[in-house]
Symmetry: D3
Subunit: 321 residues, 6 copies
């Protein structure tokens, strides 16, 4: 397998997660029609990497595009959005698509995204080759966002994190878990974790949502997530991390009280939506003890950050809420 | 089977639906601890009727109680709320229960209600005798209200109407349909009908929600529902009717542009929440061409109204939105 | 001319304005399709009276209907809404019509109302016979309500009071005056009077709007208007009175600090919108020193109140804000 | 001392608190200028009773008036509002006065009310005879309401309950305690009790505020208070009771989970602000084990309810939150 | 006539509209008292150009100032605001003036702006020399903004676009057309175009408003306008273009689905109101096929952009909503 | 005494207040755990300066830290927050601490801050050495912010400015004065100055709050304060100045209509809360006629500005509101 992108921690830096020095890796106008490219997901594929990218066009319509890369940093993004074919249903209506995640389970790549069906809900599709895509039944009723599949079945069922919400700029939101025997019918909904009390951890006191596909470690499932605080000048999105029980992933073992990464670079602080760090994918190598985190910055561009898995786990355990 | 409650249309009245002259049939203090008894559901049972009643107690905690009646008008309500046992799950958490519906399918009575699990969602339980109740997995993630089961399987699956919403006094809401092979996992979610445009039918322009269990007629499924308008002095809830395709109940054949019943009696206009008519059950006799509609009035008491099924269908077809 | 409706002040009552003992004079279901009949206007016509009535139908669509009466109390209202013909324009679009006023100027009866043209604005029409109606250009851009014409030209121009607002349940609103040489183009907009400071006269602190057509008296124009306060349970509409300069009616000479009539009868306090008194017409006889005020009650029914013109003027001067 | 008003519990009633059969005892138009008379306070005085009444006039300006009664039921209210003289300060500005309480401490009667000084705060005055009134420094900075003095010094200091809030229809509010050595400077502020969690006691989940002057009993201070829930049609005010530690009255020993009295009579449900019960005074006789509670109903009229002190205490202990 | 400002399209750029490389052309502190200079209008004048500039002073009072330039880029702005004389009225009240437009019609220059008269409405003035200014009647009742005159009479009447709104940070707004025979009375109001559906063109889904004076082309009137989207961190203003029928300018022939220019430079993204591009003037040369667009950036500074008229028209036709 | 920090006015600059060229002087990550360091207070101490710093940690918990400096520019901040001991009370609860001020009165340094006690209120503590801190009774009931002590007793009492508010992102707020004989009980509350009318001085039209400790000059008390305007993209905080009567500091002699300093540098415009200048301390030397103002920038970093006292006074008198 191809090596994941990597850059050593800069000297003098003590943070557990550090940014790629050449951020952002994908600019807002990287394809001709785009207004912005952000909140996107990548996965190892063949000899390199494939990705599903949120590209808002200049009419500010939200859609997802496939892309390929040899090194995970330089991306060739298809200027045309993905055309879905019917998967396990004929009903593949979609007013818009955004904030995709992608994961390989058994024999194929599954994509989830926020799908516009009378409001936002969780769309599901699969592909074998990132050329043909097959759209399935939406997982849930509206209104929902941030649907993230686990990379393997749990207790024999598919498992998905999601963030029920409402039809606007939701000022609340917690992370739930649901199961499905077949990727079509979903149930056994459990509350996993909630926005934190203001006094305990204000950066995640307004709403939270799962980010990259969970990573199975010896400690359990490593889940990066975004947390939001509402200041008097709008929402601010930062990134934290939680560790869930391997076999009962609605049980939270640890969860960072401090954030891991918060908007402080100009490309995170200035853009279409200022002060946003929104992680959607994490390439990882357990043997190299490396993480490459992809995140949307300011709802405008795509950026990259790095860390050591062992350090993230240690930090999460030592700084748990 | 016992005759359903009935009273002929008063002379001079031309309305399709008319009220019981001795309304309300259940007062707010009908059990010692209650603050209000309303939005409740009844069903034929043995030689009479059984019901599931929403009784808010004087701490204004919302719960559901079983009750029995010989004639459907005089009710003996258990002063203790229903104690649930585990049904198809051990997870039977419930912060509150309200707005129940009840329906007999095959071998048992199924109850749905608005269940408090980190916000409102749809609770499900079954009983054989209205003494022992077995709570199942919640149908959906929060936030949802007004879950109403069809009285038989459709295309081999259980079918439920519901009204996704948010965690407050939701100022929006449409009716959706979902299917389940097993009453545990739900999918195939479809939008059935939406709040109407203000200019077309303002009484139902803010939100709508299914009421009684649908009634299968030659024209399709007869569904009474509530519609809401937001005036400058709050919400006003009225009742309308729709007819859905028998085999594809996400298709609306007809839907009343005018309301069938709107708050105009003092017990509907004055109470804990003024100006509310909220139907939750409909006893019916196809052979007698009769309907007995149970509705909550002003979120305080329970009232009864009558109509002829054939007239309701004719009216709905002739006055369709 | 026919005598206007009248009933002497009840014994023991000291109020300047008193209610008709048989209120409401028009019930909510007075025509077969109506949900409510209120906020309506009347005018002497031939040997009796004619009126333009706001009748919301049972789809809660708002429209205006013509009606006739011999005594001003018993009304025969056309169950069909008015069908407009083209007047001084071909553009007679109208999503809805409500809150009409009617006034005779020179050779014809002019009707103004809140007209739905991409939001509420002021519609204008004329009739000679209350059978054929000719709709003219809307007076203003949206958003506006409560357009009330003066019964004669002022300084050679038509003059209209109105209440600019927004597209919802406006929580603000003042009375303005505009002029037109031709009932087509309007200008010379002047602010006449504003909602009162809370500490001075709270019943009219949220918004105000002109009611009946102004009455010319020796003191100037007598203008009844509604004033609104926002309580924690919604808006409350009461009635006051102002006297404007005869030749410069944007100058307020006097204005009641106390209200003249506020919701305190059950038909004013309970209904589709509780706590509303909304005057839209005033029959008057200067020689008899009598006023008959027509007002909508609770946005549901139409009621009548009486007073002596001289007393109203005296009260307004003595209790001026 | 004069006997406090009393009426035995009606037969068949089991409630701890019951209403006076001739409610309301003071109508909205009981003085010539009034729009409403409610939320008022009474106290034994000479051979009968004196009271401070909130009378909103017909300009809906809020003020307080003195009144006298022989039996506590028939009241003679001064049609002129109280004219304050300077007490312990020259600064006796007051934009409005409402919701008074009155208490005898040592040598004089102290009155507290919601005083308009750049927003609502707690006004203080004293009188010896209910003829001359001396206004003191406001206790607190805005924004505050429901200031209620204890009837004796605690640990050598005056003690006052209050409900900090904001400058509008506050949707939050808890009860605090403050101390003063001299009725001029206040400090040692303590949170006493908060609005209850929705799931535990929804009738008091939005805000709470102390009502009558606390009554010292063997169990501690008996404090009646109002609690508020926000429905989709506005606020609803009910009455509950708490028992505070005698010497540390910021410690709550017991507090009713169910309400004691909630709006269910037409004069409580219909009026300027529907669905309000707002207690401001309690005459009591420990030896007779009697309570006479005065409360404002629907922000419009004044009503009376009764109870046995011992029963209230027992109920509060048995039904504590 | 003087050549309008111009700079060729940078190499590699494919956008229809491109920015001036030395933006912003006017800094926020360009006159001694200013806090910001933006949303300003220019016009050819004598041997160069004249302009009307919105200069907010350091008390953040909004006013308009005259200025002159030889090349349209370097501006000499009068540090004193314009002093108006009476034009067609004595009533020239003005609480504030902002967002001016200027146009030459027949014999004089007409200026329109947002004029503070009991709220925002459309002010009108004329000048012959940019030294003496004569203020006329406001065109409309409040509340209105973005009044833009056509550069010639249409069907014998003056024509003006405007954007009715409310008295705050209006979250809605569409473009209307009105006519006047005399610049004093206005009527024949028509809705021209509305904010776009979110799914079709989200950048203009919240509100829209006309920008520069329309330019007559063979295809009709070329109208640049701003469109607004509400993100979770506030409003974002971008620029689009529409083509209206020459003789019936309430008919929209084409309208850009994608934006032409959106905030992406630091001086557009950062300032008093981040993420604002607000065009108010367009110098053009049909013979040179050139446009010079002036726009306010971030409500702080003034910037310049260029384009070819033919390309803008072609783009608008090919990318029409 | 040590010289206060100073830098001469840059050439060409005419502003009364100018920025330090090396701003910000304290970065957001100046201590290992911090997310941001801003809104902090300094005071001369021993041979240099001491300070109380608001350091939000990476869990975005707000706390105050002590720090020392030789020159007032380079600061050594204690990475651990201040641990309070009991001062004049045992009740030293504190959910959070932010926005400190510090002042020397007689024998000790007093610190005030926004203290979390069931919402924001004014915390008080004293220290002799910036090592041991003794927390006293909170000055007021919640909700309050921006408590600022005068540096000496006035009329024999301690005097404090504060800004009563509510429990959220308060959209209103005026400056009040309160007195205390003993730093424990507070009273004699007076309104000092209010947010300005929009038309007069919009930068301070939403809310205002005192900043540094007042400076006694020949003209009276020099009080720097922040003023806030609400734009469509959030709040913007600028700095102004007022002069209060020496012996009656609730009397405002002068107050700047224009601001003295408003966000226009990138570190003020971009950060956790964009567009914030928030002054909390002013070192001054009357003999040198110098001021060194410390202010928080963008709720992220700490910056420094300079001015001549005499010029500030002259400017305030000449540009008074």
């Amino acid at each position: 397998m191809k090596k994941i992108p990597w850059q050593n921690r800069p000297k003098g830096v003590k943070d557990v997660i550090w940014r790629y020095s050449a951020n952002p890796i994908i600019g807002r106008y990287a394809i001709p029609t785009s207004n912005s490219i952000f909140n996107s997901a990548v996965v190892p594929f063949e000899n390199g990497f494939a990705g599903i990218f949120r590209c808002d066009n200049k009419a500010v319509q939200m859609n997802i595009h496939a892309g390929f890369s040899e090194d995970g940093v330089q991306w060739d993004i298809n200027p045309e959005p993905i055309q879905m074919q019917a998967g396990n249903t004929q009903m593949i209506d979609s007013d818009y698509k955004y904030d995709p995640r992608v994961v390989f389970i058994r024999d194929r790549y599954w994509i989830t995204w926020c799908n516009g069906y009378h409001g936002p809900t969780i769309g599901i599709a699969y592909t074998f080759d990132f050329k043909e895509f097959f759209q399935c039944e939406n997982a849930f009723l509206p209104f929902n966002r941030n649907g993230v599949l686990f990379p393997e079945k749990i207790n024999g069922k598919y498992a998905m994190l999601s963030r029920p919400s409402d039809n606007g700029h939701t000022p609340f939101g917690d992370i739930y878990l649901s199961y499905s025997p077949d990727m079509k019918y979903w149930g056994e909904h459990r509350c996993v974790m909630k926005a934190a009390p203001f006094n305990d951890s204000a950066w995640q006191c307004t709403k939270i949502g799962a980010g990259p596909v969970p990573i199975l470690t010896d400690e359990g499932w490593l889940v990066f997530y975004h947390g939001v605080i509402k200041t008097c000048n709008g929402f601010r999105y930062s990134m934290g991390c939680a560790i869930l029980e391997e076999n009962e992933p609605d049980k939270v073992k640890f969860r960072t009280q401090p954030y891991l990464l918060a908007p402080s670079e100009i490309y995170e602080q200035v853009g279409d939506v200022p002060n946003v760090i929104f992680p959607c994918a994490a390439l990882h190598s357990l043997e190299d003890d490396r993480l490459a985190l992809y995140y949307g910055a300011a709802d405008t561009v795509t950026a990259l950050a790095f860390g050591h898995i062992s350090e993230v786990i240690a930090f999460t355990k030592q700084n748990s809420l």
